[in-house]
Subunit: 202 residues, 2 copies
DNA sequence: ACCTGAACACCGTTCAAGT
DNA sequence: ACCTGAACACCGTTCAAGT
């Protein structure tokens, strides 16, 4: 049984399985991934060029849900707020993926679309080009840093069904932390929007 | 020649050599590190518990230069500005180290001292505990995100003495980017300080 | 106490062989 | 075209052996 009449794999299936592994264990290896896909490690190379491409595919998957429909509210702050929040939420849905993405800063198309949308919104609001670039950098840095902050701390251990009560309490604390990170993100974003409006209107 | 009369290694020497490798190549392996130290890979295990501890030692080294002497200026914004900037500069001196640190979020003592100093300053300025924690989270996220932003993009290639003119121009562009990231950091920090003052005084 | 060298389990990737 | 299995170079870590 060398080749099946219908392919068992596809880049999309590979990315989905890899993302599931990263969500669960914080990392993935080719043998693990192959096993999850009921396949041999070498088969994977018929569909992707290697581990790096799989990481890029995961980035694309994580970012695919970003909503850029700011709704032409006319209010640039509202549009930026919505884009940045959606961006942050995409990261935060897969917190353990973020460390893998920080080494490869190859921007994929979905991520670039976010910058385009921000640039357009800021331009319409009257930010000159230099301020525009700086504002995007500030927002991007804060979103990434916030997602990382939400990601890193409490995910050292993993849940399984034999978990003790103490462990569940610890998990609850972790959720509270997630919530804390979320609130800090929203608050920080408001500060930044406020400051940017100051710059814009003076 | 099994054991020398004087040890060839120490945790500090190991961390320094590892950091030099990371600065140059963006990563390090035990064999590489051993070679740089004129030693065998297994010797390293007489001084550190493994690769993870080496990474923590590098974090300590990178963070050791943080200055917390805000100078009792009485101005909380000035103190926070100085701490955050020093923090950011410590990260930015070793941009390629940052991705290695984001997986292990074990905070070492030096890093924790930064939070202590921030908390103390904010408390004296009159921030209630909850706002204090949130402010620290916002600042921390922004510093880390900014450092990551400064780190990631242009460091794909490496300099050596046989470099062409075109390559040096590319390096210059890279420096401009470093500079751009630096300016964005300072601007963003000002926005955040401004916003925090709004919160504090209302 | 501290270094060496052999050894182990594991990893990412390649490639001939099969259908 | 797409899967398997063997193979390669490499990695992190352990451990007996040496001084």
């Amino acid at each position: 049984m060398a080749r099946p009449s219908k392919p068992k794999l596809s880049p999309d299936a590979i990315a989905a399985a890899a993302l599931a592994l990263v969500d669960k264990h914080g990392e993935f290896t080719l043998p693990q991934l192959a096993k999850a896909l009921s396949v041999t490690a070498s088969s994977i190379y018929n569909h992707v060029s290697g581990k790096d491409e799989i990481i890029e595919l995961m980035r694309g998957r994580a970012m695919s849900a970003i909503s850029l429909e700011g709704g032409a509210s006319g209010d640039w702050q509202q549009t930026v707020r919505q884009i940045a929040t959606s961006y942050w939420e995409s990261y935060s849905k897969h917190p353990r993926l973020i460390p893998l993405l920080t080494s490869h800063t190859v921007r994929n198309r979905t991520t670039l679309r976010v910058y385009d949308a921000l640039a357009e919104t800021l331009a319409q609001a009257g930010f000159p080009p230099a301020d525009r670039l700086q504002a995007i950098t500030i927002i991007d840095s804060f979103v990434l840093g916030s997602a990382l902050d939400a990601a890193a701390p409490e995910i050292v251990w993993e849940a399984d069904d034999a978990s003790s009560q103490e462990f569940k309490e610890a998990l609850d604390a972790g959720l509270q932390l997630q919530q804390r990170a979320r609130l800090a993100f929203h608050r920080g974003l408001e500060l930044i929007l406020l400051g940017l409006e100051d710059i814009r209107s003076n």
